[in-house]
């Protein structure tokens, strides 16, 4: 009885997740979990989080960026890092 309830809950959650994904894909034309390859690089999802601080620090392509600098890159601004 308990196992069937668990299976039912898991199935329901999976269905909801799929529905949200399909809806988002239909609306935006871009699957929500995919990286936007057309966006400026580097993108935060491809970087390693090396320190959770204020601001957090990431490593991308061997260079260290802060979260604020990665936001600037994403917004098309020029960012110089060492």
């Amino acid at each position: 009885m308990r196992n069937s309830k668990v299976r039912s809950a898991v199935k329901t959650a999976a269905f909801i997740a799929m529905a949200i994904s399909i809806s988002a894909c239909a609306i935006t034309g871009n699957p929500p979990f995919m990286s936007n390859l057309a966006a400026p690089s580097p993108r935060v999802e491809n970087c390693a989080l090396i320190q959770q601080a204020t601001p957090s620090r990431y490593v991308c392509n061997g260079k260290v960026y802060t979260a604020v600098q990665l936001t600037d890159v994403r917004n098309g601004k020029q960012v110089d890092v060492k």
Partner: protein, 574 residues
């Protein structure tokens, strides 16, 4: 008669003259003279060969008035000009002062902006416990109910930091970070919870689960102590309530602190200590790569949230070596060692009192050895843990535990002679089933006899799914709280597996499964066997008598129930 008429006529004439007379005004009197052109004589009347004589020194009222007016205008103009010149000068002085002030004011503002920063770290969660059980908390402020409460679920706030940093100079930093925590203290007993004021006044307890604010970090850090030595450039010395040299370092390596705790943190070592610490890198000769890192210090034996009581201190040290050099923190292959030694947080006048269960008095020791490899999109780490007296009953039940471990007996008391005791209504005894009393006493003995030896093995890592914002992550921990106990009922395994989504630079979401498994088959031990670990020979707990050692009573059900839960975790970091 004629004389009178003459006199009268003269009077009338005089009166007439007086009536027509007008007072003479100097400015209206015009003196006219005539000059004879042949003889140049001046006459008062016009005549032949006579022309008006222009007296250069003569009084011409209009001309004088005009001249006076012109002179007055000239004087006024001069006065106005002088006033204007003075005003211009004064204004220039004021403007100069203002000009001098503005750069200083602007400099202060721009300097302040460069010297102060503020940020936040927030962990929010939704948890569904399909199988709740007793055990350590999966994360801070997680206190689910125990067995029998299947599908318990909750929204939680497990962390809120407000990070403030002030750097008045380049080499000095002050950090202040308050955090939230849940206040638990109301056990439902009016006699012990509420506050008594005076003889007849009471105030109800408000320790009812409020999220309160406390200090997590408050320290001053000096950067550059060893900058004169090139390989040691970048070292720090820190004083105050600060991140210790190991747990925060491992949390950053793991990258999923917002989901769960790293191994030693899970079994009781806090991430914050109060003390004095040195840390920094060891660079290559050209300064381009880091060959090693170090961190060591002396701290209070009590955690950052407890009152220090001892006259000793604990020490911690961590060293990391990068055999191939590291261009960034954690880069490539690394080997890390951690050592911690300290004493129970007990006052000097009590620490040497004889007691069979020494948990709060005994020394403690923790060691960790890690081998780790990090790339930008994945990492993997393995860890071995060794400890002595580093895991007690409070750590075991930091999430939740049976009431018997917190001062309240469970189950139905026995009031007739049993288990070697002369049980009665005035001296009731614990039963061995339907309760957690004797079990709690056995667990206490296994964990707190002062000879506990902890052994653990762990692994964790993550992997970015290519071309997505999704990362698979996992953690496995196997921990033996006391490997001196054969078939220890408290041996457990923990595993966490999930998928995270990086929405942007500040926001991450994870869906994961977290599980605590007490993996031995359910079993019990006799009181004689438990006595080897200082189970009390004839003791009591929560006012009820425990089965005696001499009776060799079998105490069943020593293996706690497993815990299984599904989490949705959210992290916001700025």
């Amino acid at each position: 008669m004629k004389g009178r008429w003459r006199i009268l006529l003269a009077a009338l004439g005089g009166l007439t003259l007086l009536g027509f007379a007008r007072p003479l005004r100097a400015q209206n009197t015009v003196t006219r003279l005539w000059e004879d052109t042949r003889t140049h004589q001046v006459f008062t009347e016009p005549g032949r060969h006579r022309v008006p004589f222009n007296f250069t020194g003569g009084v011409d009222a209009n001309a004088i008035e005009q001249k006076v007016e012109e002179r007055t205008h000239d004087q006024m103009r001069a006065a106005v000009a002088e006033t204007a010149a003075q005003e211009r000068y004064d204004n220039s002085q004021v403007n100069k002062q203002i000009t001098d002030m503005q750069p200083a004011w602007k400099n202060y503002i721009s300097s302040f902006q460069n010297k102060f920063r503020i940020g936040t770290l927030v962990y929010l969660d939704y948890a569904m416990y399909t199988h709740p059980g007793f055990g350590p908390q999966f994360s801070e402020n997680f206190n689910p109910p125990g067995p029998g409460n299947e599908y318990f679920n909750s929204f939680d706030v497990s962390r809120v930091y407000l990070n403030t940093y002030f750097t008045p100079t380049d080499d000095v930093l002050f950090r202040f970070t308050p955090e939230i925590y849940r206040a638990n203290g109301n056990n439902g007993s009016p006699a012990t919870n509420n506050t008594k004021i005076g003889r007849i006044t009471g105030v109800g307890s408000n320790l009812d689960g409020d999220l309160n604010v406390r200090l997590k970090y408050g320290y001053i850090q000096y950067h550059g102590l060893l900058d004169s030595i090139a390989p040691l450039k970048g070292g720090n010395v820190t004083f105050g309530a600060q991140p210790n040299p190991f747990i925060p370092w491992e949390e950053d390596l793991f990258q999923y602190r917002f989901v769960t705790l790293v191994p030693w943190n899970y079994v009781g070592l806090s991430s914050s200590q109060i003390g004095l610490q040195f840390d920094g890198p060891i660079k290559s000769s050209n300064g381009e790569t880091t060959l090693a890192e170090y961190g060591f210090g002396a701290y209070d034996n009590g955690s950052f949230r407890s009152q220090e009581q001892t006259n000793t201190k604990q020490v911690m040290a961590r060293g990391t070596i990068y055999p191939f050099g590291a261009h960034w923190r954690y880069d490539g292959l690394g080997m890390t060692g951690f050592f911690n030694y300290g004493y129970g947080n007990t006052a000097p006048d009590s620490i040497n009192l004889p007691t069979p269960l020494k948990a709060s008095n005994a020394h403690f020791e923790r060691i960790a050895a890690l081998l780790h490899y990090s790339a930008e999109t994945w990492n993997l780490a393995g860890e071995f843990d060794y400890g002595q007296n580093a895991f007690n009953l409070g750590n075991l039940f930091s999430g939740s535990g049976p009431l018997d471990a917190f001062g309240t007996p469970t189950g139905k008391a026995v009031t007739t002679p049993h288990f070697g005791n002369a049980c009665s209504t005035t001296k009731p005894c614990y039963d061995t089933v339907g309760t957690f009393g004797p079990q709690t006493a056995v667990w206490q003995a296994l964990l707190q006899n002062g000879r506990e030896r902890n052994i653990g093995w762990d692994a964790f890592g993550h992997f970015l799914i290519p071309n997505t914002k999704l990362t698979a992550f996992g953690l496995f921990q196997w921990f033996r709280p006391n490997d001196n106990v054969a078939n220890d009922p408290l041996d457990f395994m923990r595993f966490v597996a999930g998928l995270s989504y990086q929405y942007n630079e500040y926001l991450r979401i994870a869906l994961d499964s977290q599980n605590l498994l007490f993996y031995h088959k359910n079993h019990g031990i006799t009181t004689m066997k438990a006595a080897k670990f200082n189970y009390p020979s004839a003791g009591s707990l929560n006012g009820l008598l425990l089965p005696t050692v001499k009776s060799d009573t079998f105490i069943p059900n020593l293996v706690p129930r497993d815990t299984h839960a599904v989490f949705l975790n959210l992290e916001f970091a700025y």
